[in-house]
Symmetry: C3
Subunit: 354 residues, 3 copies
């Protein structure tokens, strides 16, 4: 039986056909495991110079309200590997920018292709927390093809899955009791909570001893923190909040140094809060920067993760990001296989067939 | 003989190879019928999960001076289905935006690919009627590959053919004597005449009892109205002008509720006319809105069409657009097959061969 | 042995796998000859209706800081012919436009695809000479996939190779002692030196009697002029500077009428120099325009070349650009085959394998 036959069989029995991917929280462990195993198979095939045409002649619409480097290029390259095509659609070039309804756009993409990705966050929703996610859910409400969250102001699921996928490569398949520090770090940028929150949710789902480290005032969505606690109690993991970065780093197996906006800023919205006031607040915590010294207290094989872009010299030192612990480029590469798995497993045609 | 062989044979005998598609008026009934039959074959194949590589390794250049949702995504997905690629080219990203001549751009696209689509209307031509169409004809004058009008200020042929294609699906193959109301409806937007005019031309060509319903002052291009009358006299159809919408709707088999700019506005050009004055004029006719009540006097199986985007609550009520008569999403889907047929039948390579 | 097998074998023995293409000067004659022979083979195949899938399922990232007509569309069409895909990436739509480091972007593209093209010049680098080239070299420093210069402020290698390729088609395989006039001509635009300089370098490398004709004050980069002199002494060619256009045109076999910015303007940078002052300088030399009369003193079979866009009526008369000597559209077409050869020969996957 050829490699293609094997993978095709796996699609049909996956139970993922037609499923949306809006947050990792809406997928169970088995579903995420299935996707990751499929991504692993694709990666193995790809390195062996074989390619399965699992998205052949199919279309993934990528609707971007915001800029993107990795998400766009990896989803587009993933479709190419699988014989199909991802359309890069800058929202500003569509009639949507002139007031066309989400319902009509969603139904249209449903009729013309096989899956719809949407990115919407930060300035595209005037920094009103949850508004980006609400827009994606509205697309999903109407489109009878899978809707993939390509990053919003609450979640970033394909990134979160890729991060766990890469941590398994680095730390071993079983991540239970591995200590993962998601650390607020300094930058003079105002970034959404999506990557951080989905990381917290999936890390606790996989039983990691998850530590959220941040200065007072930088706590994230309380509802999602509660969900992460529930995840931990089911998985045998843990969720800890820590306001002392060097304390938090001790015996860590992984650390993700990431700047995000303060709780008040996100909840109030930038219009009222002002960018200046928020950056002033950030400036108080310039020492929250991942230095080599801070990583020295990690476990010997501990790794540094990042979803990128990283603000070098602010969130973390070059010495760390370019050092032996850094897994950031392997992580970026794995976006290709995880997203290829998404394109192979979820999309369905107009007849619901593969 | 495989499905592919059959379709390939049909391309060679179509007589459409190398033909421009700038308006439906420049194509005869037999040519349009041929294209629609081909689109029907592609749709059937597609639903059966088969794909003919009729545009394999070929390129369609899509040059957009204006925004697009459906036209861009359907032409791009159509090329993907057929094994080729449609390049989405925002005119602003080309040297053309810095003054490169149309002749040189046209010859260049001719040498590098297999067909060239152009959209240019409204703000891109300062609302000067006919200027968009003139630009497309200049591309066609120089490019020795088919030039496809992807909507200008006078015509929108691939949309018009798709509309007839879908009406045949809904009302039966023979559209003669079916009553089609193309109704001006309210919006606070200033839209070109292209979709409306090409719809009037093709509906009369197919023998429909075509009714143009609009308030005084919203008549369209007189020359094209005359051409539509000629079409009707040849096809056994009819063209009627009616200034009373509820009267026009009686026993209609189809209605297309669409806002367009007034005659004075289009002919004078927006620069002189001012947007404010035009919207003020529109505001007098807010009751020209397709309501459920208005559709109740249609024939029992009468359908509501729209090229989209539709201005919901202005041109038509949600109840109508989402109701059982609405064929708008089937119509959007059919863009895929009609445009796939265009990409399969018209384009020619540098040697003029398939 | 099938055509595909032959071409695939040629890739493996080319020695070009993984090589950057930043200027023609960094490639030797044998390498350029190899690439051109490969382009010739691809052209022959293409005209015969055959296509070798030499870039199948592979990705070329095209990162544009500036507008493009030909470079973008030809590289994208070239990938389509070879079964792969070129992603058109407007730099403004990436996180790079928000400060992401070149290192991280370069490594990311390396991990996700097979080659990276970059265009950066003129306004994108504030007209600071050499800054665009420095940016491309920084991408190349970090990316372990081939980096292709898609035009910067110093070089434009894929264009230069295409020009030599086309001159060989027109003037014969051996270009030694053929007289090639690279002529400054008038325009009211401020254009980089890249195309002109790479043309001078490759023409001297191929033994042409190369003449740079320009008014006083329009000399280009002295270091590159010296390199061109060295090329000429090795190839048996020549490099001559001439300030009299009609004198220079005598017995020419080829002429490239091209406007470029003055030496002071380029070296000082536009910010200090002002656009007005530069255009004022250009305006003194409006008679430096390629007219039919000027081409009448060329050799009988002499040709007119241009990288396009050409400023018609300024750089050259329509009569010349559209006349029998003009090879501009053949030159544009050949971009397709030369760039297809680049995509077939240089790129390597994540494992360094084809």
């Amino acid at each position: 039986m050829s490699a293609r036959t094997v993978l095709t069989g796996k699609i049909q029995s996956s139970g993922l056909l037609g499923k949306d991917l809006i947050s990792t929280q809406e997928w169970n462990r088995e579903e995420i495991d299935y996707l990751m195993q499929f991504a692993k198979d694709i990666k193995k095939e790809y390195y062996a110079g074989r390619v399965s045409q699992l998205f052949k002649n199919k279309t993934f619409f990528m609707l971007f309200y915001n800029t993107s480097t990795r998400t766009r290029s990896s989803f587009e390259a993933a479709a190419t590997i699988l014989g199909g095509h991802s359309q890069f659609i800058d929202f500003a070039t569509t009639r949507g920018s002139e007031g066309e309804s989400i319902k009509d756009m969603a139904k249209m993409y449903e009729r013309l292709g096989h899956a719809l990705g949407v990115r919407i966050l930060e300035s595209a929703v005037d920094y009103v927390y949850g508004k980006g996610n609400a827009v994606i859910r509205e697309y999903a409400k109407y489109a009878d093809i899978p809707v993939i969250n390509m990053a919003d102001d609450v979640y970033h699921p394909t990134q979160a899955i890729t991060d766990i996928f890469t941590l398994q490569e680095k730390l071993g398949r079983n991540l239970e009791k591995k200590k993962y520090v998601i650390a607020w770090t300094y930058s003079d940028h105002i970034r959404s909570w999506g990557s951080v929150q989905d990381e917290m949710l999936i890390a606790t789902k996989y039983g990691m001893d998850t530590v959220l480290a941040y200065p007072e005032g930088f706590h994230v969505d309380e509802n999602l923190v509660q969900q992460a606690r529930n995840n931990a109690s089911q998985s045998g993991g843990n969720l800890e909040i820590n306001h002392n970065l060097s304390e938090a780093m001790k015996k860590a197996d992984a650390v993700f140094p990431r700047s995000w906006a303060s709780h008040d800023c996100v909840l109030t919205g930038l219009n009222k809060f002002t960018k200046e006031r928020e950056i002033e607040l950030h400036n108080k915590y310039k020492d929250w920067r991942l230095s080599k010294k801070l990583t020295d207290v990690m476990n010997r094989d501990g790794v540094v993760t990042h979803v990128l872009p990283v603000f070098r010299g602010q969130e973390a030192d070059d010495e760390v990001m370019d050092g032996p612990r850094s897994m950031i480029y392997d992580q970026a590469e794995n976006l290709l296989y995880v997203r290829a798995a998404v394109l192979a497993l979820l999309p369905s045609g107009p007849t619901g067939k593969i």
